[in-house]
């Protein structure tokens, strides 16, 4: 856990990651709040708050008395959101570091091509 941000947002991100990578398939059951709390060693109220972010977001839905499930279409939407956030979270810091080191845009592009074809 990263100390600087609220844990519940980090829990939500963890579950999002699991949905995006397919660890949690759509329409499959999400671990219970208590399971999440014990696994991540956090307060159950915090776990609930994190999960509720995803419920509000529509990525997870609750079935009364049964549990929580990944919504269909959740993966696609989450991927879309992450893509939109990608420049802010990753590109800008990358450029800032490159500028600090005097790496030009062309050099940067070359590096990106060299380092990996996704």
């Amino acid at each position: 856990m990263d100390e600087s941000r609220p844990i519940f947002t980090q829990i939500a991100e963890q579950i999002e990651n699991d949905i995006i990578t397919g660890v949690m398939a759509e329409e499959s059951q999400v671990p219970s709040i208590n399971e999440i709390a014990v696994f991540y060693r956090i307060n159950p109220a915090t776990a609930l708050k994190g999960v509720n972010l995803l419920v509000d977001d529509g990525a997870i839905y609750k079935k009364r008395g049964i549990g929580m499930f990944v919504a269909s279409g959740a993966r696609e939407r989450l991927v879309q959101q992450r893509r939109e956030q990608f420049p802010v979270d990753f590109i800008r810091p990358l450029i800032a570091e490159a500028m600090k080191l005097g790496i030009t845009a062309d050099q940067l592009t070359a590096m990106l091509t060299k380092e990996g074809t996704p």
Binding site: E3, S4, P6, I7, N34, N43, P44
Partner: protein, 301 residues
């Protein structure tokens, strides 16, 4: 949410010393609350007041809606585990676990047995002959297995090693998830318990200086590191919680940032480093101790 502890204008003087100085706060039912602060800050006295072990000099305490002082209907729902608990002469651990169920209606003997095995506690040895850590584990086991609706742990793990402490945190969390109850945990090992807490109360010099949810608190500060000029430009008029510097480099702790602000900071070549709950509490504790002095020094500098 039901309020289980309600304290208003509570003061406890020992002679001229105000161990608890006009404090007011409340604790909600079924939460894990951290009561944090330095040694001698007033944590133990506060817990003793909440459990009727000390008599208040002035102010009101309501626990389960009533005064706890000499009130059996309140007290028998409370388990209070102290750092240096004394046990009756010649008691062995087995005598403690034999007598505990007489006083705690929710006592779970199976759970106690599991914990005894977890902590490898010798039941037949005289308590006087146990190690510091084993002594602490008796308290921890009583506190967990009693499953009292309101449980106080006051620095419960003196002498427990890191492994044993982790067992304590894990069992506490598992059992709390299964059997929600109100837990007040006092400790100076803030980093270790930070993620377990839902509510944080920090007491310093008898006064409450922080009373917030753990999430609010965690998001409430960030350290901005970079060249002094750039840092100063970025922080502008924000309140500075703490300032460190070396050469032309500054590290300034300020209130929490939105994600846009974080991106701006990154764009201006500033590094944002996390402030742990422990660091944050140290910063805020120092701030109150130095009072106006620090600001004056800063203004002159």
């Amino acid at each position: 949410m039901t309020t289980i502890i309600e304290v208003s204008n509570l003061t406890k003087n020992f002679g001229k010393l105000a161990a608890v100085d006009n404090v007011s706060f409340s604790i909600e039912e079924n939460t894990i609350c951290g009561l944090l602060g330095r040694n001698g800050a007033g944590k133990t006295t506060l817990m003793q007041l909440l459990t009727g072990q000390q008599f208040a000099t002035s102010g009101d305490i309501n626990v389960f809606g009533q005064s706890p002082v000499e009130n059996a209907s309140v007290l028998q729902n409370i388990s209070f585990i102290k750092e240096s608990q004394r046990y009756p002469e010649d008691f062995r651990a087995k005598h403690v676990f034999k007598s505990a169920p007489w006083f705690f209606a929710n006592w779970d003997a199976d759970f106690a047995e599991r914990l005894i095995a977890d902590f490898r506690l010798p039941l037949d040895r005289k308590i006087k002959k146990l190690s510091r850590g084993q002594l602490s584990s008796i308290g921890v086991i009583v506190g967990l297995a009693s499953r009292a609706p309101l449980t106080f742990f006051d620095e419960p793990y003196l002498g427990l090693d890191a492994v044993a402490r982790q067992i304590f945190y894990d069992r506490l969390l598992e059992d709390y998830a299964e059997h929600p109850r109100t837990i007040v945990l006092s400790t100076h090992l803030i980093d270790e318990v930070a993620n377990l807490l839902e509510h944080v109360i920090v007491i310093d010099d008898g006064q409450i200086i922080i009373d917030e949810t753990a999430d609010e608190l965690r998001g409430s500060a960030t350290a901005v590191v970079g060249p002094s000029g750039a840092v100063d430009a970025f922080i502008g008029n924000r309140e500075v919680l703490h300032r460190d510097g070396i050469g032309g480099l500054a590290s300034v702790t300020i209130a929490g940032l939105t994600s846009t602000e974080r991106a701006d900071a990154a764009a201006s070549g500033l590094e944002l480093s996390p402030v742990s709950l422990q660091q944050l509490i140290i910063r805020r504790t120092n701030l109150t101790e130095l009072g106006g002095n620090e600001k004056e020094i800063e203004a002159r500098a």
